[in-house]
Symmetry: C2
Subunit: 200 residues, 2 copies
């Protein structure tokens, strides 16, 4: 890409660090910012640098949290402090918070157990989770890891851990999605839906 001037070339390379942005999109973004939204580019540049210094992790739930502020998901004003929902990523937390009426606490694993990639219980901060369970405040642990092979393995590990602490463990339901049609749902999902049937 030597056809660009050096600074433009650096800008396009830097934009490619964003997830899902290839050379064409990066070029389009660079041209858009330079041509039509220099104010937005300035704002983005400054905000990025500010965010790096100012956003850390909540020591308790591991969600992103502004430095020097209390984590809003661990605040004592949450209605259901006895419930703890374990999710894989901050995006999963946002999905549950935005789409459901759940207002308990969270624990963000920031990944899933994956021994082949060198991700074990320590990398997911499970020692801290165990300490929280041992403290006795949590009455119910809701496991909301993804229904993938690794997510299921993580769920199994988490359930064993919670049972060892005498905490009630639940898993979010897996089955036919709302608005879905049985005819088009894959066999695995359907098998889950059938075995997980509930009395009406």
């Amino acid at each position: 890409m030597s056809a660009y001037s050096p600074r433009l070339s650096r800008l396009i390379e830097a934009l490619r660090r964003l997830p899902g942005v290839g050379p064409k999109s990066a070029q389009r973004m660079a041209f858009h910012l330079l041509d039509r939204d220099r104010q937005g580019a300035q704002l983005l540049g400054e905000t990025l640098v500010e965010a790096l210094g100012g956003i850390g992790r909540c020591p308790s739930c591991r969600m992103f949290c502004d430095e020097g502020e209390n984590c809003r998901y661990c605040s004592s004003s949450r209605t259901a402090a006895g419930q703890l929902c374990v999710v894989e990523s901050p995006a999963d937390l946002m999905a549950i918070e935005g789409g459901t009426s759940y207002r308990g606490r969270y624990f963000v694993l920031m990944g899933r157990l994956s021994p082949l990639d060198g991700i074990g219980p320590e990398e997911l901060g499970l020692d801290r989770l165990q300490a929280q369970l041992a403290a006795g405040e949590v009455q119910e642990m809701i496991i909301a890891t993804n229904p993938t092979v690794e997510g299921e393995a993580t769920a199994y590990y988490l359930a064993e851990m919670a049972r060892g602490q005498g905490v009630r463990v639940t898993r979010i339901a897996h089955g036919v999605p709302m608005g879905g049609e049985l005819e088009y749902v894959d066999g695995g999902t359907l098998a889950h839906a059938l075995s997980g049937r509930t009395p009406v």
Copy 2:
């Protein structure tokens, strides 16, 4: 979006200034940068601020160009200085430069004539283009605006202008794209291809 912490919320808002990035993508980008690529975020932030101060416009061809450097598309080392290709955007220039062997000069309109949006000849810098044509260096002006209604109107206006200066004017060919199949090409394109047929 009050579910985010203030700094995180600002970061996601700032990322939405990028073209084609909605709330979900912005959240994914923010989480990715914070969780997995803080170095990339730092680089992007600094590069954006640097780019704003350091990238301007070439006074001659209007392409983006590093301040204090000569525009590489107007350099005297270009082989075909007698040809001038008029394009709508920097991306169009890059497409021609990257996909063809054309090595003449360019003029970037940064838009197209669109009276309803208040974009007339002055906004596109056509006075500067006219001065270049009047200077007598240009032997051929190649019009490479898009084959849209506005692009065609712009092409017509440009052709009239160049003819007034006694400069030879050409338009890039429009027809069936390479690898395309006649059966699936739209009627307008096919009509263009037929009327623009060339002797073999």
